[in-house]
């Protein structure tokens, strides 16, 4: 069955996917006070890749994803690619589940085993993935209103405790930290958008992929830039990279008549993360289904979702490992999935489509 997502809902889905589980983490801490520059650089660097993904999707001319893929790449290569991305999406889903369960344990429920939270999340995302991308997109729009409201309020309140002097001096250590920070931001979270490529089944028009991916990505980048920079101005550049959850720490500095707000940010983090893990699970299930030639993806969802429970516990066990893997091991593999393969996609797609068009004209 073809699932059709309206452009505005698709855009919000992309936005929340990118903002998703990044809301409490200290992104681009390497850049120090130049974090905003790192964000801008990363956005500029990511934009061509986002455009490229939208272009590949638009070359399929509104066909359903997998029939479009087969037209462009042929049967076996596209199945191989799907399997590779299934692994990537499933692993990402494990990471996000582990992020949330680690976060909840560290912040609120120190005595509750992580696997409890992970299991509840796995069951919820199992349900969400079975409902499909249309339902996820509607869910994203409803939840985005809560997330935006919370972010707006916390941003305004953060401004009262922020110290703009923390951004100075600009580029004291030169351009290197800026680029290091930008590269960190690229593979987590900006270019993870590649997962969404496998989720949208078909679009309403040829221009829709651009209308969905580009504004969604840009607004997410803007939100992250604003929230992260403000948090850095609150906690200070040197301490920003020390905390596991600097945005959360920054919000805990707000006092509204002896009442504190950080749990609300935690709540938006949980919502965004949930959406991200569900999207990843959906992508993984659809890729597996396609790779093995099954007719319906829904029966694959359950085993994959249940596998996420041990996966999230084994792949990453502690918060320190999250930090380590995010900086050291993750970038290398991520580059292949997020940059190399999409570029190959694009080149092949352009050549094939041009050739087909040429033959069409000739014959």
């Amino acid at each position: 069955m073809r699932e059709h997502v309206p452009d505005d809902q698709g855009m919000i889905l992309v936005l929340l996917f990118v903002v998703g589980n990044t809301l409490v983490f200290g992104l681009g801490g390497v850049a120090g006070p130049d974090i905003w520059l790192a964000f801008l650089t990363a956005t500029v660097m990511a934009l061509p890749m986002i455009l490229l993904m939208a272009r590949v999707r638009s070359l399929m001319q509104g066909a359903a994803l997998y029939s479009g893929l087969e037209q462009v790449f042929g049967k076996w290569p596209s199945r191989g690619l799907a399997l590779v991305y299934a692994l990537y999406a499933w692993r990402l889903s494990c990471f996000v589940v582990s992020d949330v369960s680690n976060f909840v344990q560290a912040i609120a429920l120190p005595n509750t085993p992580k696997v409890v939270v992970a299991s509840i999340l796995a069951l919820l995302m199992l349900w969400a993935a079975k409902e499909g991308v249309e339902v996820l997109a509607r869910f994203a729009v409803v939840m985005s209103k809560v997330v935006f409201a919370v972010l707006l309020v916390t941003f305004i309140l953060l401004l009262s405790v922020a110290n703009p002097a923390e951004f100075l001096p600009v580029m004291y250590d030169g351009a290197k930290p800026v680029f290091l920070g930008a590269f960190q931001l690229l593979d987590f979270p900006f270019l993870e958008v590649v997962v969404l490529f496998w989720v949208f089944d078909c679009f309403s028009s040829k221009r829709s992929p651009f209308k969905v991916f580009v504004p969604g990505f840009l607004s997410a980048a803007l939100i992250l830039l604003v929230m992260t920079s403000t948090s850095l101005a609150v906690v200070g550049a040197d301490r920003y990279s020390v905390f596991y959850f600097p945005i959360w720490t920054a919000v805990s500095r707000i006092n509204v008549s002896t009442m504190r707000l950080e749990a609300i940010v935690g709540v938006t983090f949980a919502i965004g993360s949930f959406l991200k893990m569900a999207v990843c699970l959906l992508a993984a299930s659809r890729c597996v289904t396609y790779a093995f030639g099954f007719s319906d993806y829904r029966f694959v969802v359950t085993p994959l979702a249940l596998a996420v429970i041990p996966g999230s516990q084994w792949l990453i066990t502690t918060l320190m490992e999250v930090e380590k893997s995010a900086i050291k091991t993750y970038p290398t593999s991520a580059t292949i999935y997020q940059v190399v393969l999409p570029v190959v996609f694009w080149v092949v797609a352009e050549i094939r489509v041009a050739k087909a068009r040429h033959q069409g004209k000739g014959g």
């Binding site: 809902q9 509750t112 339902v135 709540v267 949980a270």
Partner: protein, 512 residues
Amino acid sequence: MFFWQKTKKNAPQPRGLDDLNPSLEINLHWLKADILASDETIVYRRFKTSGAKARDCVLVYADNMVKHEFLSQFVLRPMMQSSPPKHLRGEELIRYLSANVIESDGSELVARYGEIGDKIMNGVAVLLVDGCPLGIAVDAKGWPKRAVTEPPSESVVRGPRTGFSEDLGVNISLVRLKLSSPNFKTRFLYVGTQTKTKVAILYLDNVTSLDLVEEVARRIDAIEIDAVLDSGYIQEMIRDAPYSPFPTIGHTERPDVAAAKILEGRVAVLVDGSPFALTVPYLLVEAFQVNEDYYNQWMVGSFHRLIRYISYFITTSTPAIYIALISYHPQLIPTNLVVSISASRKNVPFPGIVEVILMGLVFEILREGGVRLPRPIGQAISIVGAIVLGEAAVSASLVSAPMIIVVGVTGVAGFVNPALNDIAVLIRLLFVFLAAGLGLYGYVFGTIAIVLLLSSMESFGVPYLSTMTTIRPQDIKDTVVRVPWWQMRLRPRYLATKDRQRLQRRTGSKGP
């Protein structure tokens, strides 16, 4: 006559589909012995026409279902005074009587026993004349009817005072009075193998998608049930998402509400004998919309609507958030409040969740007890519940004082949205258990589950959350707030598929 003689020996066989016989006596025999057997309310009034060749006639009707005065004045008297030409017989005669003698606007010819039975059960009198294989059905419906009064469940301060009654014809005319346009269409269906209840589908054919009308008709047609006593039967048989507790079909007792929904592109279903009109598709926002929002000034209307949303949040979430805060996140409560809460909880032996469930249960019992009792006793119950039990429970240290406030606020806020109040109890319980186990995060997981359920639901092909899942400005003008009428130029996108224009041009004194 062979057939007649043969069957006379045996017990009468059902012959509902058989044609009438020319002999009046045979017809009466079959009516009395089979179709209308063992029913002592049926009246067989025998009389003759005047003139040289008097004909034997019988007027058959169900007592108390017809207007006796009407029958005497416009059927019996003219028939008795008439003298039909001698040469007329059979079908010609009956056509002559129908055209020249019977003084009623609602008369038609009937040819089968089964038809006669159905008609008589619905307050129609049937005239049979000797020698004619046809009868004349005269519409003389007249049973006790309730007056058109304001419905008690949807009373308004500002707005029309009319409400539906139990009579389908009256109900249709009430809607038609609001939508006096040739585009207003009505279609009839009959449901119930025993009752053959008349069901009407109402829509505007220049606004509503005909696919929707067909789908509604198809689903109603597919119902095979013995009886339909209220629109509630149909509501449950044709709904989407039957396992979800949220309503996917709207109901109203007010013609103005039904008309407004039809104008937005919905279809209304009226059932004979039920004062509740059904409207489909039904979206979640409708549970928060009240007709007075549109009759009052828009800012006032919007404010009341906001209050409704906030109340629903309060009624579903307060106990869960309270438990999460006192058990897991006391740092989020202002310090003074934490101190006073913990002081009041000092002597209470139970954890928060037990208190919530205990008090919630007491509240629900009091409510259920109060609903079905006569008003004075209901009030006594409320006083006993609220003051005596609440006060006593606190002083006996069974529950803490803040918990009484939480449960009280929760209960009162629930009454603001009657359409969703029953479900609020279930949602509240889910949230309370999750919050007791996982704090605020449990509550968030519960919210995610509820929103996911709502996102996955549809009502007649329209997403249940449709106006909440868009960021197009035009589509959200009538959701959380109600913008001024002059701004609502278009009808809802998902409903009015044919003609979306509501305001023809820039109208209104302040229109931008």
